[in-house]
Amino acid sequence: MGKKSIRIQLNQEAVECTVDDNMTLLDLLRDVLDLTGTKKGCDTGECGACTVILDGKTVNACLILAVDADGSEVQTIEGTGKLNLHPLQISFVENGAIQCGFCTPGFIMSAKALLDRNPKPTDEEIKNALSGNLCRCGSYNKILTAMHKVISKE
């Protein structure tokens, strides 16, 4: 059955591989490319732990077919703050916005995508952008604080 050769711009590097048509982008990242920073929390697009930035917009990688991502730009947590930490990452660390850490990569990607588009979002805009990322440890307010610190520095 379906197997395709695909090419994606992954964290600004060209990557080529052959995938089954039914493989998700999430499984491609985690199982084939060994990029396990993007997490699988529900696999049905509800928890946001698998959030990546696809062509500039946040998506749940578990709902994107790898073949569908052919030709697209994908940013994951591994490509964020590679040489120097992104200000969001520094702020999350300094402001207690991380507990178990499972949701953290997804939150960083959602927060980054928001600030890339809108460097000064309101609290309502932040909540709209980040409400698709669940945190059972309840770090929501600390994440908001961490974002405020980054926004006020811009």
């Binding site: 207690g96 991380i98 178990c100 850490g101 909540k127 059972r136």
Partner: protein, 774 residues
């Protein structure tokens, strides 16, 4: 050099977590992230029926499927029961005679990939003889109800205790309040689904990477259930995406992964899907609580009686102690002279319960604290005042034998009154718009902050730690404790740094690897700061004693006169006489030929298992207290409750890391606390969980969060490390009751069964005469 010898350098500081950088880069490896060559995918075959006899299991077609490396059933096990309490354990890794809930484990496969494993599952043919099921404890107790195990009326445990004289107590009471409450089944919803990778090597030694809260006990349980000596089993706790009690003790996944690895000779990893997490993972015990309280005219609590029916589910896990904790709390929260508590733990064909943050306490606190507000209204007292009147005091003993040392309950109540603007907000505002009403309410709690002795044995609440001082003055710290994400590694490293006179970055901590670390009972009952912290402190004191021998020689001073601080050792009364710690360690290693290794064992000398006959005793070495107030806005037409603010004062003894303590409290409130109050409930139908995803099982999102104002009350516990005690569970214990009391203040209705859905609020308002709904 002038040094403040008393002020802490590390403890009490808002230092970033030591694992934060790893996590924020996406480099933390959780069980589902680890891969080893040759790794197979394991999948578990689960029963679709709630109650059935297993007549036959035919796995031949599955075994023949290309890519399948092993199929196992109960025949591949030693058929040994497992559990934290072996006296009552009755769950098997794989069922043989009967399945007792939808999701019960019947078989398992290991295959080269997930697709083949799933196909193999579908090829295993199980012949079931379906039996009638029973899904409600009241039905289960009726004569003639289907028998789930061997117990008559499906009663796994009946408990009853009393202190004082309750008949006289009620006779002497001026007012009596009596209510029934209901607490639903709740899912832990750890963001990381549970998983385990097991790998057997050529010599038959098993290495197990698990999402476990209790690595050392897991090793013991695996040894027992697999019949393999402990020396041939190594359990490694990976980074964990949450625990909240769900991963205390062995999960069938752990044992099954081991069995598959043993059979195939290959590493096998099993990770639950989210659907499996909801369907078959242990839950918070549902409870029906009948509570009756008698009070004197002046507001003094005089007598309390509780009866709890607990839905145990299909198997014994820790229902006896969870229910015991719940019923016992009526004798613990507030000073009260006459109490009687009874409970029945009843089997049903529902998914079984297990430890869940608070361990029965959120359920009973909901009842106790709503009744406190009812009583306040009857005796015409402010809810804060009546709580102050009845609050526990430091250095007191409760009627059931709890020895309370540090206690900041009154301080917590006062702080919350202060920061919330309580007095102004409690009075009714004239002219408030009818359809949206505001209210404020509070609740308090007591909870153990140091672990208890009666799991796995009669005297088993220890923690052990070792520390190596390296020749350059840094330290390697080893602790058997478990880091679930609550931050224990950072806190323990801070305790070590403070004790050794080093900086946090000088400490390299290793935890939860049974080969490398000494034993600790793990993360549960909010015990690790206190219990593991003391072990770490003892180990560092031991190392320091050895170090001071060498330093004393170098400084020509008496070791008893030395202090370690700021990476230096100096003479207490003459701080200018000092050397760097690194010099002392170097001297030890290279000139004295003696490496420095410290050992600390904390066997928890202060607590004891309560008397089995009377129930009297002090089960925990330290108690945490808290008060939370909720400010809400209720839409009287839709019933929607918006939490505007939470004000939380927590007696933490000493905040080793105040920022992290705040994170725990805020976090507990914003997700589990508010969810328990307003939206969470597993919806069961004939034993099957119906809402098995995050859309239908509603945990709080960022859009639902409210302001949380936190105050850390430091009572400096006399026993805890630097005065600290536990904070993890207390974070969410009083939240639901505070919200319920705030709703009453807003719209005059009590909702006694959780969650407080908009629908229930609307119905309650309708039934109430005074409010007119436009």
């Amino acid at each position: 050099m002038s040094v403040n010898k008393d002020e802490c350098d590390v403890v009490g500081k808002n230092l970033p977590r030591i694992d934060a950088l790893t996590k924020v880069r996406g480099e933390a490896k959780y069980v589902s992230d680890i891969k080893v060559p040759g790794m197979l995918c394991g999948k578990i075959l689960r029963s679709p029926l709630a109650h059935a006899r297993v007549l036959n299991i035919d796995s031949t077609r599955a075994e023949c499927l290309h890519g399948v490396k092993a199929v196992i059933t109960y025949k591949d096990t030693l058929k040994k029961v497992f559990g934290v309490n072996m006296r009552t354990a009755n769950n098997l890794l794989l069922q043989n005679e009967k399945v007792r809930y939808v999701g019960d484990q019947v078989g398992a496969v290991a295959a080269v990939d997930e697709e083949i494993a799933l196909e193999a599952l579908s090829l295993i043919k199980v012949d079931y003889e379906e039996l009638p099921g029973v899904f409600n404890p009241f039905e289960a107790m009726k004569p003639g109800a289907p028998k789930i195990h061997k117990e008559e009326n499906n009663i796994a445990l009946s408990a009853s205790r009393s202190f004082g004289d309750i008949e006289r107590g009620f006779a002497q009471s001026d007012f009596i309040v009596e209510d029934e409450f209901y607490s639903p089944p709740i899912a832990h919803c750890c963001l990381e689904p549970r998983g385990c990778m097991a790998s057997v090597d050529a010599s038959g030694r098993l290495t197990v990477w698990s999402t476990t809260q209790t690595p050392h006990p897991l090793r013991e349980e695996l040894s027992d259930v697999l019949g393999i000596p402990m020396a041939r089993i190594r359990v490694i706790q990976q980074f964990m995406g949450g625990g909240f009690g769900s991963r205390m003790g062995m999960d069938p996944i752990d044992g099954i992964a081991c069995l598959l690895s043993l059979k195939t000779g290959k590493p096998v990893r099993i990770v639950n899907t989210r659907d499996e997490e909801f369907l078959s993972s242990r839950i918070r015990y549902p409870m029906w609580i009948w509570l009756k309280t008698g009070v004197k005219r002046n507001g003094r609590l005089h007598v309390r009686q509780v009866n709890i029916i607990t839905d145990n589910g299909a198997y014994n896990m820790e229902g006896d102690s969870v229910m015991g904790n719940a019923i016992g709390k009526i004798a613990q929260l507030y000073a009260i002279p006459n109490v009687k508590y009874e409970g029945k733990l009843v089997y049903t064909n529902n998914v079984y319960g297990g430890p869940c943050r608070g361990y029965g306490n959120p359920q009973i606190t909901y009842a106790i604290e709503i009744q406190m507000d009812k009583i306040a209204e009857i005796v015409n007292m402010d809810p804060a005042e009546i709580r102050l009147m009845n609050a526990n005091d430091p250095n007191s003993t409760t009627v059931s034998g709890l020895q309370i040392t540090s206690c900041g309950l009154k301080d917590c109540i006062r702080e919350v009154v202060e920061i919330s603007g309580w007095k102004g907000k409690r009075s009714k505002k004239p002219g408030q718009q009818l359809s949206i009403r505001r209210g404020i309410g509070m609740a308090t709690m007591i909870h153990g902050g140091a672990g208890v002795k009666f799991f796995w044995g009669d005297n088993c609440n220890f923690s052990a730690s070792t520390v190596k001082l390296n020749s350059d003055g840094t330290a390697d710290l080893f602790t058997g404790s478990a880091e679930l994400g609550q931050g224990s590694n950072t806190v323990l490293a801070m305790i070590a740094a403070e004790e050794l006179g080093l900086k946090l970055e000088d400490i390299n901590i290793t935890n939860g690897d049974t080969l490398i670390t000494p034993s600790c009972r793990g993360a549960w009952a909010s015990r690790q700061t206190f219990t593991a912290g003391l072990a770490v402190k003892l180990a560092c004191q031991d190392a320091k004693r050895q170090l001071f021998e060498f330093a004393g020689y170098l400084l020509e001073a008496n070791p008893e006169d030395l202090v370690a601080k700021g990476r230096s050792i100096f003479v207490k009364e003459n701080p200018s006489k000092s050397i760097p710690i690194a010099k002392a360690t170097s001297e030890a290693y290279f000139n004295m030929g003696t490496p420095i290794i410290g050992k600390g064992v904390n066997s928890d000398p202060w607590s004891s298992k309560p008397d089995p006959k009377t129930g009297y005793g002090n089960p925990t070495s330290a108690y945490a207290f808290a008060t939370q107030a909720a400010e809400v806005e209720v839409d009287t037409q839709t019933g929607y409750v918006k939490v505007l603010n939470m004000y939380c004062a927590h007696d933490v003894g000493k905040a080793i890391n105040p920022l992290m303590a705040e994170c725990q409290i805020e976090g507990g409130v914003l997700s589990m606390g508010m969810g328990y109050a307003l939206t969470e409930k597993l919806i069961m139908e004939n034993g099957e969980v119906k809402n098995r995803n995050f859309t239908d099982y509603r945990i709080m999102t960022m859009a639902d969060s409210c302001n949380v104002h936190t105050i850390l009350v430091e009572t400096i516990d006399p026993r805890g490390p630097f005065g600290a005690k536990g904070v993890g569970e207390p974070a969410m214990i009083p939240t639901a009751a505070a919200i319920a009391n705030a709703i009453y203040n807003a719209v005059g209705v009590w909702i006694l069964d959780l969650p407080i859905t908009p629908e229930k609020v609307v119905k309650a308002i309708k039934n109430k005469q005074e409010l007119k709904v436009v």
